[in-house]
């Protein structure tokens, strides 16, 4: 049986003052699956996440979420005002009330049990990511949406956190949509990658995306070479100009030019 679909975007677009933040994005996420959005700054990753969550209404296209699905969300950055006295335990239970033992167990699962009683303003950036993940997990989500889950985490911790996210998927069977700007970091942790630069440049398995010319054009050859070093199987065909032809349905060839990477990343 095919796993249940949790989220479906159909040709979703959103423009602000005539400027397209995202355009014609289609995406599907099933239970037990991890899909990662990657793309440069200003590519519309967070916008797309907010549209998928219903925080922003799409200007065009359709957004469908499984009715009544419990959603866990980890926003990109959270700063709690110093004026608000709040322990991590209270912060975590703001999403859903839970007894202390369960809060402790959930924080232990995400590796942040030691900050249970700390003021939420006193935890480090990496600890805060784990606390946010615990808050999302406490809701027993069917759909987990993580916006840049490893930011403010040191490199070793980043791999560890992605491992943890992969484990969570296996243990709880939830579908996970996450945002990253670094393909080689998430390669092991994700089933499918959607490379976004306002529109979907390419999508598919991490391997196929890393070899996709659209991806290479977007991130520059250096970034692509970094990945290619580890995955250099030549399994696609070239046309007369040396461009890669699609070899599988999940690695479509882009019909348009890709020079977005040179644009200033000032807009979000």
């Amino acid at each position: 049986m095919r796993p249940e679909i949790l989220l479906r975007l159909e040709a979703v677009g959103l423009s602000v003052r005539g400027r397209a933040l995202i355009d014609g994005v289609s995406l599907e996420l099933a239970a037990g699956e991890i899909v990662t959005l990657i793309g440069p700054n200003g590519a519309g990753k967070s916008t797309l996440v907010q549209v998928a969550l219903g925080l922003l209404a799409p200007g065009r296209g359709r957004v469908w979420r499984k009715p009544g699905a419990r959603i866990g969300y980890m926003p990109q950055r959270i700063v709690v005002a110093d004026t608000l006295p709040l322990t991590v335990e209270r912060f975590v239970t703001l999403g859903v009330p839970a007894p202390r033992a369960r809060v402790r167990a959930t924080l232990a699962e995400t590796g942040a049990a030691h900050v249970l009683d700390s003021p939420v303003q006193a935890v480090s950036g990496g600890e805060m990511q784990r606390v946010l993940l615990a808050r999302a997990m406490l809701r027993e989500p069917e759909l987990l949406v993580l916006d840049e889950p490893v930011q403010a985490v040191d490199v070793g911790g980043q791999y560890e956190l992605y491992d943890l996210i992969g484990e969570i998927r296996h243990r709880h069977g939830c579908g996970i949509l996450m945002v990253s700007h670094d393909l080689h970091l998430v390669m092991a942790a994700t089933d499918r990658v959607v490379c976004l630069n306002r529109h979907v440049c390419c999508s598919g398995t991490p391997d196929s995306v890393s070899r996709d010319p659209a991806y290479r054009a977007l991130f520059g050859l250096e970034g692509a070479a970094h990945v290619a070093l580890y995955h250099h199987h030549h399994d696609h065909r070239h046309d007369a100009h040396g461009d890669v032809l699609p070899s599988a349905a999940d690695a479509p060839l882009c019909a348009h030019e890709h020079h977005h990477a040179a644009e200033p990343p000032s807009h979000r």
Binding site: Q50, P75, T83, L84, P85, L86, L94, G95, P119, R135
Partner: protein
């Protein structure tokens, strides 16, 4: 009790304590949500509410409540257009509303107007009817705040996260504005429209150092507000100073004193 209520000083104390109890927890949210200037703007519109309330024959308190609410809605609508920064909008609304109120009041009440009592409060003239209004309105505000506590706290910490988790953020925000309007209408008699914000934020700011949970901070703010009222009235009585400003001075003194004491973190 009846004999005590005949004493203007007792009525003043009772009125002040009622306002301080309600203003404490609400003020804590004003501090957490960085809405001090917003509260100030609503309070500035109080005078317009007095004038319109008298004109419409519904009384001062309800007039203030209605005008504060309308102003809050106007502000939310203007904020959505995003053409001007919020502090600019607040500045425009605060001073326009205050001036409009002064003009309207001159029309409605003419020469009978005792402006100082509206601007700085007239706690020593609190009547039994005022007491009913203060304690009734204050109790209502606290009851509503208690019912709203969890979702309001969640929305205060992170609005988008709260929305994903199912909090009706817009409704909660509007309800909170209603509460602020209610407390302003209730507190006007005691400290006047120009000083109301101080009764919201000074006790809450003072309480921050001694609280480890939001609830303790809210309760401590109420307590500190009550101390400020008692201290201010005592000062007013012994030195013959204006009562409203004396209450604010005593709140400020408590705040300074609080900074000297060791904090709990």
């Amino acid at each position: 009790m009846t004999a005590l209520l005949d004493d203007f000083l007792f009525r003043a104390l009772l009125g002040g304590l009622g306002v301080a109890l309600a203003a404490g927890p609400l003020g804590a949210f004003v501090v957490w949500r960085r809405m001090a200037y917003f509260g100030d703007t609503l309070a500035h519109s109080g005078l317009l509410g007095v004038a319109l309330g008298v004109l419409a024959g519904i009384g001062e308190g309800p007039g203030v409540l209605v005008v504060c609410l309308v102003l809050a809605l106007v502000l939310v609508a203007l904020q959505r257009r995003k053409q001007l920064a919020t502090d600019t909008l607040l500045g425009i609304l605060a001073h326009s509303a205050l001036s409009l109120g002064l003009v309207a009041l001159a029309f409605v009440l003419g020469a009978r107007i005792d402006l100082a009592s509206y601007l700085f409060g007239d706690i020593l003239a609190v009547s039994r009817t005022d007491l009913g209004w203060i304690w009734g309105g204050g109790a209502l505000a606290l009851a509503l705040l208690a019912a709203l506590w969890r979702p309001l706290l969640a929305a205060t910490v992170h609005e988008e996260l709260a929305r994903v988790e199912g909090v009706p953020v817009l409704a909660v925000r509007l309800a909170f504005m209603l509460l602020i309007a209610l407390v302003i209408a209730v507190a006007m008699k005691v400290v006047g429209i120009l000083l109301i914000t101080s009764l919201l934020i000074i006790p809450a700011a003072c309480a921050r150092r001694f609280a480890r949970t939001p609830e303790v901070m809210a309760a401590a703010a109420s307590l500190i507000g009550c101390l400020a009222v008692a201290g201010g009235l005592a000062l007013s009585l012994s030195e013959d100073t204006p009562a409203g400003p004396s209450i604010v001075v005593s709140a400020a003194a408590l705040f300074l004193l609080g900074q000297l004491l060791p904090a709990r973190r």
